[in-house]
């Protein structure tokens, strides 16, 4: 596991600056994207000249790209599943938080606060050990793979955050909406599902998308509990190549993938926030 860390070489400014200068003209993308790309290119350029018999860094990265992407796909799968499960459960938990029944409201509040204030990694470990590796349903064994357990592990904090997002959005709906619904004889659950929640969706979406980006980035934590994903793939690649000069480019490359995936989500969130800011 700790193999590559012992031999980190110092950064060589001469090569690095030349690399940056050489590619500056081509930079068109957003500043962050350029930075990530730059990191890779610096090293690619630096080592392309000196590599000798070994293939160039860029070439190596390119060759390993399908493998790295194969790992990265698991980050998306795990985070998407965590969001789906966490959102569904969090929705119910959030609505339970505004229940008129204290016996429903109090435990929902407690569960929300507990999960929201727990380190994600601890929740992840908890789920890995809590969930069995297989289930017996009517005599059939259904295996629960580790990535699925990890997804549930991430679903717990997601559930708590969604619960708070839902509760906050519901509370932001003016009291007059509840009053007029009540005056028209809507039941409380009709009022919630037909009148309040539809108005909440717009208010919740930016926060929800933000959460999604955060969960995607956090999904590399699954690596710590032994689930294969993007970071695992990167480490496996480094272990196979045994080349110190690949260390930074490979991690930068993985970073770039996350950036390319999460940045558009962040942009879309800002766009939606701005667009819907004034609408009621």
């Amino acid at each position: 596991m700790s193999r590559p860390f012992a031999v980190l070489l110092p950064f060589r400014p001469g090569d690095g600056l030349a690399g940056i200068a050489g590619h500056r003209a081509d930079r068109r993308a957003a500043a962050g994207l350029a930075l990530a790309a730059g990191l890779i290119l610096v090293h690619a350029a630096a080592h392309a000249a000196t590599a000798g018999a070994k293939p160039a860094v860029l070439e190596t990265l390119w060759r390993w790209t399908p493998f790295l992407l194969g790992g990265f796909v698991w980050n998306i799968v795990i985070s998407a599943l965590a969001m789906a499960v966490g959102t569904a459960l969090g929705f119910l938990l959030g609505i339970a938080q505004i229940s008129q029944v204290r016996a429903v409201r109090a435990p929902s509040w407690f569960a929300t606060q507990l999960l929201r204030n727990a380190p994600w990694l601890v929740l992840l470990f908890y789920c890995m050990y809590l969930l069995p590796f297989q289930l017996h349903v009517f005599g059939t064994r259904i295996g629960i793979p580790d990535w699925l357990k990890a997804a549930f592990g991430f679903a717990l904090p997601v559930m708590a955050y969604v619960s708070e997002i839902v509760r906050g959005a519901i509370r932001s709906i003016p009291a007059g909406q509840w009053e007029s619904a009540e005056a028209l004889s809507f039941t409380r659950s009709q009022t919630i599902w037909m009148i309040v929640i539809p108005q909440c969706l717009k208010r919740m979406l930016p926060a929800w998308m933000n959460l999604y980006a955060i969960v995607t980035m956090a999904s590399v934590l699954a690596n710590v509990v032994g689930v294969s994903e993007g970071l695992t793939a990167a480490r496996e690649m480094l272990a196979a190549e045994q080349r110190v000069e690949l260390l930074l480019p490979v991690y930068a490359y993985v970073l770039l993938w996350f950036f390319a995936y999460c940045y558009p989500i962040a942009r879309a969130t800002v766009f939606l926030e701005r667009r819907w800011a004034v609408a009621h």
Partner: protein
Amino acid sequence: MAAGGTMSGISGDAVVSLRDVHKSFGATEVLGGISMDVGRGDVVCIIGPSGSGKSTLLRCINALVPVDRGEIVVAGMTVTSPTLDKLALRRKVGIVFQQYNLFPHKTALQNVMMAPIHVLKRDRREVEELARQLMRKVRLSGKEACYPGELSGGQQQRVAIARSLAMKPEVMMFDEVTAALDPETVKEVLTTIRELAEDGMTCMLVTHEMGFAREIADRVYFTDRGVIVEHGPPKELFGSPRDPRTREFLEHVL
């Protein structure tokens, strides 16, 4: 107005009847023993300074606010009974609020249709026909597909009236419905209410529009600090108020 005919024998024919109604919020007494009777087809206006409990009074009548003491009977149903069927009550009493409170995610027509479909479980096509008819009645034909945000305050308020009417109530209550409106749109809302009254709808209005109250009401109640100071036909109450408090209030607003 049909004032003369309904003035006599009110108690026997009352649609809304209140007896010694008390209500406090914490230490503040908002209603300090209100008694009144509203006959079928009557138009009653409640006037008085802000904070005199007028809005609370209306909210007590359709059980949005529970009372502390006293009795309220609406269309034969005892509102103050612990076994009250709130749903049945609210079908008989419509209320329109100062802030319209339309559902912003639904079109005007959908706003009108929602309650009859989901609360009364009536047939969608039937309800749509009724809703379009009501939109015509409040003079908003052509605005059916508009969202509340696309309508003026006066138009929104008229949609709110249509929405309430779609439940086919026996009594309509209006809680300062023109107070939040631009002056130029006040008139169109008052016209709608006037037409309702002329159709024989029992109406209770909390209003600051004294001219309108004078014109439309069969009876006007002046309330101050939770009690009815005096009441009578508008001509009497506005023309020759007996109580000094009424006189003082009218001097301020007229």
